[in-house]
């Protein structure tokens, strides 16, 4: 009988705690933050596939380095294209508990994952971020989707797929959906002197898919890695 009481009390405590997290978006983001910050530094092999209007390029393989709190480097001699609101912005948003207010909006299911949609609204009008929407997997405490609107770069939607490094909140695949403005270049600059008609591109959004593998987490990365070679 005592055992049943203890189990009941523990169950009530657990449920109430979960409920607190679900109802308190900041608490949920704090949990996400704790998970993300478990990886103090990491490097990974990445494959970047670009499917954007007006840009043609083959996928490239390279290495990504990250070190808390904001050191980030793509180590490539090849030309790589990434969204301007890339890897760091989400970390920055989740870690910033002062300048943004988290508001719970709704519960949604994305790819059979139950998520809580949390809106982050800046506390002052000088912030570049206008609105950030984060779909947080309440079970695994990771962000599965985000939509960040900034004054400078427009809106970028991002979808995250997790695998082996779920414990560190590190994704195996990130899909960025980017808005691209209409491409216009003077004919003389492009020097297509004999091209009278240019191809019409209908869509103005494109995707950049980054596949991450062979993570090496918390093995230590020196700061010199992040220094730009002149």
């Amino acid at each position: 009988m005592i055992h049943i009481k203890v189990i009941f009390i523990l169950l009530v405590l657990f449920l109430s705690n979960t409920n607190v997290i679900a109802q308190n978006p900041r608490a949920m983001l704090n949990q996400v933050q704790i998970k993300i910050n478990k990886a103090n530094n990491y490097k990974a092999d990445i494959n970047i596939k670009v499917d954007l209007p007006y840009i043609t390029m083959m996928p490239i393989d390279t290495k990504l380095y990250f070190k808390q709190k904001d050191k980030f480097k793509i180590d490539t001699k090849s030309i790589a294209i990434l969204p301007k609101q890339g890897f760091l912005q989400l970390n920055m948003l989740v870690n910033d508990t002062v300048n943004y207010t988290a508001i719970f909006q709704s519960k949604e299911t994305i790819n059979r994952i139950k998520t809580s949609l949390i809106n982050l609204i800046p506390n002052n009008d000088t912030s570049d971020v206008v609105l950030a929407k984060l779909w947080v997997d309440a079970t695994n405490l990771v962000i599965v989707k985000s939509q960040v609107t900034t004054k400078s770069s427009g809106t970028v939607k991002t979808e995250y797929t997790y695998g082996a490094q779920l414990a560190f909140g590190l994704p195996d695949c990130i899909k960025f959906i980017v808005d691209i403005k209409k491409f216009k270049i003077p004919k003389a600059l492009a020097a297509d002197i004999n091209t009278s008609k240019s191809k019409k591109v209908e869509k103005n959004t494109g995707e950049i898919i980054v596949v991450l593998k062979n993570y090496e987490i918390n093995k230590g990365i020196t700061d010199s890695v992040f220094e730009k070679v002149k």
Binding site: I55, I81, I193
Partner: protein, 280 residues
């Protein structure tokens, strides 16, 4: 006999100071471009990437030897024909002006052989100029700016070629550029057969290139019919090798038009030279 005659023509070209103007011009212009790019290349890069700056971040070395080579060829391919015409427009008319053509035609060599030798000599000179351009842009550019992927700016977007996928494009690009320069050399040589002085064929060649280029670059429907048949339209055919996917139909069409021009111009030149009265 043709070989010896061609060798003689090459010697004549080699001993004319004007033959070095083209090569010196290319060396000077490319040196200026290389200097400007080394000092202020980031400005040019911002012109390329500026359209996407709002939403995209470009990583890696965009300003490298391959891009420099591409920029130089793009800039110079319009001007090099003028330097070529400077020498090849003088091959027959220069001899008429100096009076050496009478002596030349007294040799036991047919007129056709002499003209063939002048044509081959002009092709070899064009090749030397082209190799100079290739060395200065492609080799020197890579030595100064290093290797890397090539980002090509087109009027309808950007194409990024990976480093391993570039050299063959430049090789064939230079080859087709050489063919277009040979067309110009042949035009100058043909006009040279009609003239008794050097200035006329050179200026006429420049005028024709200028006129055809203007017609080719004007977006006026009335010129749509003739534009595909102008040789100047196909002088930019080297750029087809920097398309993805490769448009082989356009490449072969351009080669056909350029070869056809060379054939027709040579036929006119042979007809005129064989019928030419030597009055000087």
């Amino acid at each position: 006999m043709l070989f010896k005659s061609t060798y003689n023509e090459l010697l004549k070209i080699a001993f004319k100071p004007r033959s070095y103007i083209g090569i010196a011009g290319i060396i000077l212009i490319i040196s200026i471009i290389l200097f400007a790019m080394k000092v202020d290349g980031s400005f040019y890069i911002s012109l390329i990437t500026g359209q996407f700056d709002q939403s995209l971040l470009f990583e890696g070395e965009i300003l490298n030897g391959n891009l420099i080579a591409y920029i130089i060829i793009q800039m110079l391919i319009i001007h090099v024909p003028l330097l070529i015409a400077f020498v090849t427009g003088d091959l027959v008319s220069g001899e008429s002006a100096m009076g050496t053509i009478r002596l030349l035609l007294t040799k036991p060599v047919s007129r056709s052989t002499i003209l063939w030798s002048k044509f081959f000599a002009s092709c070899i000179y064009t090749l030397i100029v082209m190799l100079c351009l290739a060395f200065m842009s492609f080799v020197l550019g890579k030595l100064i700016f290093g290797q890397g992927d090539l980002m090509v700016l087109k009027s309808d977007g950007l194409i990024v070629f990976q480093e391993g996928d570039i050299t063959w494009r430049f090789f064939y690009g230079f080859a087709i550029a050489f063919l277009s320069l040979v067309t110009v050399a042949t035009l100058a040589l043909t006009l040279s057969c009609f003239s008794e002085n050097s200035i006329g064929p050179i200026v006429a060649t420049m005028g024709i290139i200028l006129l055809f280029t203007i017609i080719g670059s004007m977006d006026v429907p009335v010129f749509d019919v003739i534009r595909p048949f102008l040789f100047t339209t196909h002088m930019a055919a080297w750029r087809y090798f920097f398309d993805d996917p490769l448009n082989t139909t356009n490449i072969f069409y351009s080669i056909t038009i350029l070869v056809a021009h060379i054939g027709v111009l040579l036929a006119i030149a042979f007809y005129k030279f064989n019928k030419k009265d030597i009055l000087s």
